[in-house]
Symmetry: C2
Subunit: 417 residues, 2 copies
């Protein structure tokens, strides 16, 4: 081995952090633990039989091409299905040149960062924010400027303040990163009014918006809000999507929609990244969608998650202690909800006690680029069974209650020495 | 759209070049063209029936896990098969911690560049060199120092000269990039003596070697030469491999073998790049290998390509014009051979005439980071049928002959104005 391996790593590699979530997840793998920590889809929703049948058909029909290299930008048949999906879902009209197939939407995040971010460039992100996004951007040396959200989504007034501050310093962020629908981790959906205001800001300050929509299709109640991409219609928004949540993640397929000039640059970046997405997987999902099974699958997944979300919300009502300041979001869709503890409580500290009591969550601080979020936690309701949700929330309620008592005692002791 | 899109791209994105090969390939898509330009495996060698059967079995047995997210470093079952493969093939002993599954070996090239290369860092590469490697390295701002090869592989004496030159400037390359077996594009295999000398240099100058081995298993004659990784055995060599040539490229799976500390850093980089490789594809190939079908497939592929190589070599003997300086390599394996034209001929210029005559190749200049190689071309023998190989070489022989006559006339006119 060379003498100075650690020293030879690139600047960005030296700064790379292993995902805190992934490290914490390792603590939650004991079978007796009920984990709300992951973000996994429910495998009971996976259409395994249909996939086996379609794979056999696709290999029989097109074996020579589906096991061969394919175009970097993706299989035109899958792109056609994606175009039809957007047209049907949101009346977004796209051409083949506006779509790039990626290895999960994580590769979309990575490639967008790759083509835009130089070391020190600013990216505006919501707080809390999707960890995979933060990782991708910081991997290219981005400086993240965080803006908190409220129940209506990202605080656009604060985005404006940051844009103005940057403008005065002669700077412009490379893009504004948004997860407007059932945001991970908070489960919040941005109102149309906010989206319009954000878009107006983007126009005025001449900045791109990166709209990450992994959960958009998974709405369990209420009316859909138009995507920022649709509200714009003029190439200023880059959209990221994935099959991971509406179908399954095991084939690692997602996609980017954007202006043709941006897609072209992403294609060039992808040639160097991994040549092309897997033809085999694309052919299977294209055929799956062509047979109308994708729409059916989305309905099936929604029914499962709608019920689980309801069960988790009811369990929270039933089993959370009555402590002032303890509250949680009631997401209209997606996989997660967000619990906020009173300010004096520390979910990082409490985590080890929770694991001890065989229940796990993700600490809120993992989603903050600024060290905040320590009194919050993310709960996933898609993966655990219904019984596990009820039992897990019971355990969590007890952990919070006893942790609150310990904290109260500690405060008392400080107050009366 | 924002006002200055081209300006907003990152420095590296501004410098990104679309692959010359890929752009030229577009010219070769007319059905009447016999193309030696691609690097595709022969789809007749694809085991489509076995894949369909295994996919059904794997989905039946493990549907919940093979369509789910998997570990970033890859499926332990596939890694176990890879470990057994290296043990059997080259008596290389590896642990799970030494293996990372990637999306094709192109992702291996990209991730290695990502964790080592900062803008301006030097990488030593052979000339001619695999284009995907050059693209990956330059994507992170590497400065390539090229070293020519001869019939025994990279000129190690010249590598030493470059290392010494760099040392005097107080610089050290991040790694030396080598494709030692049936190198793409030249088809040359590096001798053991050269490999040992290169390794010795790497030790003395304290530099890593990146050994890219996409074709190693595809040897049609002669004795295998030990991989540099095996000759080292001490963590100074990173090995890249792929299923694309020994099985099929359509599932986009390759792997990296390296010291554990390097694999760990690559895993962290991969989390940000695309989270994890596809579980589905890994489970299928792991099962394929576990049933002993991978070894059988390699033998089948070798038999097909051995014959095609023989046919191309004979066709070259039969149909190439008798022009001084015209010669070609006789590779012991791989997918390509390399034709060198006399110095006064320009394969870039001749390319358009060749396409006119319905035969295509890749221009040698595409494999040179230094503008060289204009009198050379790469021919692929794995993809075209046997009949196409003979007919294509005939056409190419005529193109070269007539181009040589034109050039000779031009020289005469200059000589006698």
């Amino acid at each position: 081995m060379i003498s100075d391996l650690q020293d030879v790593f690139s600047v960005n590699a030296k700064g790379m952090q292993k995902s805190v979530i992934r490290e914490l997840l390792k603590l939650t793998l004991r079978p007796e633990i009920i984990s709300f920590a992951g973000g996994l889809p429910d495998p009971k929703a996976f259409p395994t039989d249909e996939v086996a049948g379609i794979t056999a058909d696709v290999l029989r029909r097109d074996g020579a091409s589906v096991l061969q290299y394919g175009p970097t930008e993706g299989d035109p048949r899958l792109k056609a299905q994606i175009i039809a999906h957007h047209e049907q879902q949101d009346r977004i009209t796209l051409k083949q040149e506006n779509v790039l197939i990626t290895v999960g939407s994580q590769q979309g995040l990575d490639l967008v960062a790759r083509i835009f971010v130089d070391i020190g460039d600013v990216v505006i992100v919501g707080l809390p924010s999707y960890v995979g996004g933060l990782q991708a951007f910081s991997g290219y040396g981005a400086r993240m400027v965080g803006v908190p959200l409220d129940d209506h989504g990202t605080r656009v007034d604060l985005v404006e303040r940051e844009l103005e501050k940057l403008r005065k310093m002669g700077k412009k962020p490379k893009f504004i990163y948004e997860v407007p629908d059932f945001q991970n981790p908070a489960g919040i959906t941005m109102t149309e009014d906010r989206r319009l205001k954000l878009l107006d800001l983007a126009k005025r300050y001449d900045v791109l918006i990166l709209e990450d929509s992994p959960y958009r299709e998974l709405r369990y109640e209420g009316e859909p809000v138009k995507p920022i991409f649709k509200l714009d219609g003029n190439g200023q928004v880059i959209g990221l999507y994935t099959f991971s949540k509406i179908l399954f993640p095991g084939m690692r397929l997602g996609w980017v929609i954007a202006d043709e000039a941006i897609i072209q640059k992403l294609v060039t970046a992808m040639q160097a990244a991994d040549l092309c997405p897997p033809s085999f997987n694309q052919a299977i999902i294209a055929e799956f969608a062509a047979r109308g099974l994708l729409d059916k699958n989305i309905e099936r997944v929604k029914a499962i998650y709608r019920e689980k979300r309801q069960i988790m919300l009811k369990a929270l009502e039933d089993h959370m202690p009555d402590i002032p300041g303890l509250r949680w979001t009631k997401p209209d869709g997606g996989l997660f909800l967000w619990v906020t503890l009173p300010d004096h409580m520390d979910a990082d500290e409490m985590f080890y006690e929770a694991v001890e009591q065989n229940v796990a969550y993700v600490v809120g601080s993992a989603f903050h680029s600024d060290g905040g979020g320590r009194n919050a936690m993310r709960l996933n309701f898609s993966y655990p069974t219904k019984e596990e949700i009820v039992e897990g929330v019971k355990r969590l309620g007890k952990v919070i209650e006893s942790y609150d008592r310990v904290k109260a005692r500690a405060r008392q002791q400080i107050a009366s020495p």
